[in-house]
Subunit: 367 residues, 2 copies
């Protein structure tokens, strides 16, 4: 059982943060409950479904699609109830969307929150197919008092001591954007259970927690929703600090590491000579304007060449020709977005470990 605790283990569940370089069993359990993309997966523009990162707060619910219905209610003129066939009969769109967990990079800023111990693998890009949400809300008819749209999944669990179904909200303006869809296919196939079967919200540009899985109901509300999942996904200095919500993804670049790996040390060995370094970069709703590469731990930087975009909501490939000389090298990448935002060289700390787009480093040994 992935969550099974050995009898010898008695984790201090009161510990919320640690400066230790070592990890608790709990963090290993969380790492296995969820999944990162293997770094070499960054070589592919579209992530295969089984390679896509995964972050579920609660257990995966198993949904009987035949009995399932999505309800749209609250501050609307005409409440709706739609089954999967109703949704499939509506206009469909397909496009690649990059998802990144807001906690990506969590372990690198100290003190480290004892939570899903993401390194840099909480990002992937899949082709999503669904029907736009806006026209459905227009059919239901938004009341004048409509302020936000609340999305509730069928995944139930406990967080902040609250027994809850996973819930997130969007402002009406965000929910009505053209690219916001209710998705029933991922990479050309029905959603797998762990990715939200039968239906999930997809909000391109936002961090992953926005894309509510296993959708059960959509409610138009006349106030700002302040549930647990709105409180957790904020950059704060502590539990008493309101801070600011994490919303659209910050600019970031990652590299598919060159050479071959040593198992289990994970040291990487690269043959001297010409090496093509490749990776992906993304910037939420902005564009990736520039990707730079350093092979000397940031002492000097060189522009990478950007691949053609694969879509307005997907990461962008990049490449850089490196003449690798023998010895140890620390490879780094940093991206700049179309607003002029540059990745910071060091990790960005926040109490819950969200919104850290600090630069990644990859040591290699050139032989």
């Amino acid at each position: 059982m992935t969550e099974a605790l050995p009898v010898t283990d008695s984790p201090d569940l009161e510990t919320t943060h640690t400066s230790d370089d070592t990890f608790q069993l709990r963090e290993i359990q969380l790492a296995f409950r969820n999944r990162g993309i293997p770094a070499e997966g960054l070589r592919l523009p579209i992530t295969p479904t089984g390679m896509h990162y995964l972050l579920n707060h609660f257990d995966i619910p198993y949904v009987d699609a035949a009995a399932w219905k999505l309800t749209i209610g609250g501050r609307v003129g005409t409440p709706l109830s739609l089954d999967l066939d109703d949704l499939r009969r509506r206009p469909a769109v397909t496009f690649p969307v990059t998802f990144e967990c807001a906690g990506n990079g969590r372990v690198f800023a100290k003190p480290r929150p004892v939570n899903q111990p993401w390194l840099h693998g909480a990002v992937s890009t899949a082709e999503w197919t669904g029907t736009p949400l806006g026209p459905i809300l227009e059919e239901a008819g938004l009341a004048d008092s409509a302020r936000e749209v609340l999305f509730t999944g069928l995944d139930r669990g406990i967080q902040f001591d609250v027994d809850q179904y996973y819930q997130r909200s969007l402002t009406v303006a965000e929910a009505m954007r053209d690219e916001v869809i209710l998705a029933y296919e991922m990479n050309g196939a029905p959603l797998e259970p762990q990715h939200g079967f039968p239906l999930r919200l997809v909000v391109p540009g936002w961090y992953g927690m926005t894309n509510v899985k296993w959708l059960d109901r959509i409610e138009v509300i006349d106030e700002a929703f302040d549930g647990v999942q709105m409180q957790f996904y904020r950059e704060t200095s502590g539990p008493e600090d309101v801070g600011a919500p994490v919303e659209t993804m910050k600019v970031r670049a990652l590299m598919a590491p060159p050479g071959i790996v040593d198992f289990p040390s994970l040291q990487r060995r690269v043959e001297a000579g010409s090496v093509t370094l490749v990776g992906r970069a993304w910037a939420g709703r902005s564009q990736v304007a520039r990707v730079e590469v350093s092979t000397d731990d940031g002492a000097s930087w060189h522009d990478a060449v950007l691949d053609d975009p694969i879509g307005p909501y997907a990461w962008r490939g990049w490449r850089y020709e490196w003449h690798a000389t023998q010895g140890e090298h620390m490879l780094c990448t940093r991206a700049t977005d179309s607003e002029g935002n540059v990745q910071p060289p060091e990790p960005v700390w926040s109490y819950y470990g969200v919104g850290n787009n600090g630069m990644a480093r990859q040591p290699v040994i050139v032989v």
Copy 2:
């Protein structure tokens, strides 16, 4: 980058074992490089592709199927070269096969090898489609000197300081068994890259390392192959001890934990009353004869009811009706195979942390 090391990290790569209850960053990196099945995935008889556990020693190679060919050579009368169409034109079989990593449960026996830190999630069952290997070997014509069949993948890396392509062998007798297939489909679709696209060996009943991915060549040899992957997958007392190879899967039962989970503590809360405990059990090439459940940490045991088998090479479902009373309970399961082998109550230690089928425990709080 999944393998990226923070600058502050300097893992002691000489450390092969530890008795610490805490984990190194390296182990977190390994956990994310690979993947366990989420415990609730044990509710499903067939594991969705994206939920299937994954253990790759080296980087995932990306294979151009159009240029790919499988060669069959060595001690044969007629060397063969087959492309994917050749293989698809041959007789096809499909059946569910349970795979388990030989390292499943590695972290529970102390001192713990510093390696892929499996809890109990390194097991899954998929529907595999392929063509039997035996008739292909017969076509090639085994020489009288033929002793073993060596399988080489396209995944290259370093282990035991050896730069290698992943290689495992089987005796001729094992390789010729009817159920041994060359698989090109998993769950009705072409293999995803991380599962061995375009072709992998499937040897039902054996631990996962046997099912060589990204098959490049098959060579009939006249001696016993003793490569790195034959040395690593052995139950030994140390590097100097030859020990015994791990081959077919030992009997084991696991539970899909009841109730709901607290995030991120992973404590589980169950409502008092009637609770149906469910899970899966498997026994390599033997049959599952019995599954027992304890709700008091092994003080008393009760027989579970076995579901109908879904196939000769797949795990078997089980269920037990528990009347849950308020308080903390330690749930355990143990299985017995048709040879009379029973799971041991405590973890089984070996130097490389393989072959441990010790009983799993799941604490729950009943409210």
